[in-house]
Subunit: 226 residues, 2 copies
Amino acid sequence: MTTAGPGRPRLTTRRRPGATAQAEILDAAAELFTTKGFSSTSTRQIAEMVGMRQASLYHHFATKDDILAALLDKTVSAPMDLATRLLERGEPAAVRLYALILFDAGQLMSGRWNLGALYLLPELRTDRFTQFRGERQLLRERYATLAAAVLRQLDADGTERAGLPFRIVETVISVRSDVEGGEAPCPGLGSPTLLADAGLRVLGWTDVESLRAAAGAVLAECADGD
Amino acid sequence: MTTAGPGRPRLTTRRRPGATAQAEILDAAAELFTTKGFSSTSTRQIAEMVGMRQASLYHHFATKDDILAALLDKTVSAPMDLATRLLERGEPAAVRLYALILFDAGQLMSGRWNLGALYLLPELRTDRFTQFRGERQLLRERYATLAAAVLRQLDADGTERAGLPFRIVETVISVRSDVEGGEAPCPGLGSPTLLADAGLRVLGWTDVESLRAAAGAVLAECADGD
């Protein structure tokens, strides 16, 4: 039985993946939000799916919006940490951008539920999600900073293009959505390498193969620093 | 007063853009579905927004799903017609793919509401939308056919890459969604040319400028044939 976190003892044994009751709630909510829809899901249904009283769920999350915010934050916080580190490093911008795409596409592909599909919810335009929208915009800007440095190195004009690599990473979301259900692992999803190649090619970088080993090494070093 | 189509006379004068009552219903539904959400919208709300009795709305569309299906079909039918014509033409595949992206990105950018955001609705996985999903998959395959021909011409391996141009066009949807409200015209949306360049560059085609004039000419000819 999961004992972490506040609240009463659980009604039953563990039903969902996750080391804590909170993680189980998030997994159940992610399934319901991505397969039934956010507004069609109630906190009662989430609690039932975990095998928990609704009152116990409220010890962990006060509202359904809070659950959504926690799920969304998870999709942005890890690539954001990596992007912050990468901006401080000395490798060529193309290598660092390649590494960021590899990592971010990888996490969007491998998460059990297609959480990125929730980015398009009209509910995200409300004040409750101002902070999340700000975080995601900051991540977008870090992608654009690296992409602009690549364009400068190539002596290419067209700063508009600097926005493309971030969008190419997010194509994972529509590909997953088109696969029945979208639960990972998805067949035909492509690979992070495919998208990293594409993210550099749209900037005009043709020799993408030359970046792979260096980008892999940078990722390994950043992971060691954790 | 709009008089086209069946049903009783309208309660009021025209409130929404559209030449027919049906077009007004679709415009109102598109606004509500993209700004409030599909499952949070009722047919009563749509009828009210048009200034029509709910019973009159049912003369045009029997269910809310039928309204959604009509909206979705609109986003796929025109690029599908064009893709079918392009596959029969003799220009180089790169020119034809460039033309298809220009057109399709243009219509996704200029439609008043960001209808592509509805592609990610969980409701679309139900049997009701089998036909729409099939149409969209066929469009995806036509993109891939043209892209594969470009890759062959470049002697490039990696058939996986053939799926990328379709996905790059659909990035319009997340860009619009990130702009407050997403109602066209959107600032910072980029241009169809930016995406057509990107769609060819990911395949390894570097001299994208050389395709623009020829692609424009092909589009003009296809439009003349209407």
